[in-house]
């Protein structure tokens, strides 16, 4: 099966993730959209790995997963900290840095 289909699917998922990240106001949901983008990138990496007949693409996808795990831990800890002080998970409420 041609990798083109997988790449197009990956592009569509990435686009949906981007739109979701820009549109949603709940910090946790926006964060989920980032995860969707990472997953879409992983799909294209695995498809390319199969296309070239080498495992390097799968290694890259594996590293993306590790980084995503670390990122989720820190991101969710920040969200919980913000929620504790402001009682809200909306990205609009964290505006103290705005001048």
């Amino acid at each position: 099966m041609s990798p083109t289909y997988y790449i197009v699917l990956s592009a569509i998922l990435f686009t949906i993730g981007t739109i979701g990240f820009m549109v949603r106001r709940n910090a946790i949901v926006a964060f989920m959209c980032v995860e969707l983008m990472l997953n879409a990138a992983n799909l294209s990496l695995v498809a390319f790995s199969r296309m070239h007949g080498a495992l390097d693409g799968q290694i890259a996808a594996f590293f993306v997963m590790v980084v995503a795990a670390a990122e989720v831990v820190i991101g969710l800890a920040i969200i919980v900290t913000i929620f504790r002080t402001r009682r809200s998970a909306s990205v609009d409420d964290a505006n103290l840095l705005k001048f």
Binding site: S2, Y6, T15, I19, M32, A61, V67, I74, V80
Partner: protein, 306 residues
């Protein structure tokens, strides 16, 4: 691949079945109002992606996708959702005017660009991973060989990253205790203080009612005079209005007792049932009398204990 139909492989079936599911679930991430529904949509996308990995000859990533992404990361999301509050709905107010429309337009344009550019760039059939996978005896062995030779420094850096993330999460989530932690002795002293000042009962709360047909926590206990023991059901259930009607619960018992009493006129036969009869007025105004309270404590009725 097993040929299900002529010229159709399992990978193709998996792709064309799951690609629409993935796109719909991803759209659900944008349109679902509740954050929990978003998490479920993301789970659908991730599991479908795992199947795609399996079809793309990446069994290791297939397992890791399910264990790490769906199992660990998504559960972490759900934990935080529960901490933050499941009901926190998205605010629909636009802080920047026209931001939503512009975001969608820009996103769709970007998607078109991506699909057209990348879709045109690729030509030719894939080589397939059969050779690469069999070089070291399997996919996992091949990945291990690469990780511990060519990518060993990236792998080491990953371990540093994970440790930093763990420490960072602990630092961020840690909160200094500003007040002294209450010991069991403090709690007892507090409870006795409340008893002395307000007359609040220091013992445990009364249990829910036990009836012939119900004994769940939403069943209120009855006092000897037939009134409902308010503290025998949780305040949360009371606020939700999910408490069973005590009169309805008692009615069949009363009916049965009446039937038994009607069949058998011997008043002494009725006596054993009088004790188990739940909170009917026949026990008399026993709420203030200690005898009646003792009697009902041993029976199925919950008691206020005051």
């Amino acid at each position: 691949m097993i040929g299900l139909l002529p010229l159709v492989t399992g990978a193709e079936v998996a792709f064309w079945l799951l690609a629409p599911v993935m796109i719909l679930a991803a759209l659900g991430l944008i349109f679902a109002k509740k954050a929990v529904h978003c998490a479920l949509c993301l789970a659908a996308v991730m599991i479908s992606l795992a199947v795609q990995y399996a079809a793309l000859q990446a069994p290791f990533l297939f397992v890791v996708q399910i264990i790490v992404y769906t199992g660990a990361i998504l559960m972490l999301f759900l934990f935080v959702l529960m901490l933050v509050g499941v009901d926190s709905a998205d605010s629909l107010i636009e802080t920047i005017k026209g931001q939503r429309v512009l975001a969608v337009v820009a996103g769709v344009a970007f998607g078109f660009l991506l699909v057209l550019a990348v879709g045109n760039a690729i030509v030719g059939q894939p080589k397939g991973l059969a050779d690469a996978n069999s070089e070291y005896g399997g996919n996992v062995q091949g990945i291990a060989a690469l990780i511990f030779t060519r990518y060993v420094f990236a792998f080491e850096a990953t371990s540093a990253l994970l440790i930093t993330a763990a420490v960072g999460a602990m630092v961020l989530a840690h909160r200094e205790r500003l007040t002294k932690k209450k010991t069991q002795g403090d709690l007892v002293a507090e409870r006795m203080q409340r008893y002395a000042e307000l007359g609040e009962h220091p013992g445990p709360l009364p249990t829910p009612g036990v009836f012939a047909r119900h004994n769940a926590v939403d069943t209120p206990a009855l006092l000897p005079d037939g009134a409902i023991a308010e503290r025998s059901v949780s305040a949360t259930l009371k606020a939700r209005g999910e408490i069973l009607d005590a009169d309805e619960l008692v009615a069949p018992v009363r009916r049965t007792l009446r039937a038994i009493a009607g069949d058998d006129d011997d008043p002494s036969a009725r006596e054993p049932y009088a004790g188990t009869q739940i909170g009917t007025a026949q026990l008399g105004p026993g709420r203030s009398s200690p005898d009646a309270a003792d009697q009902t404590r041993s029976t199925t009725t919950g008691e206020e204990g005051r």
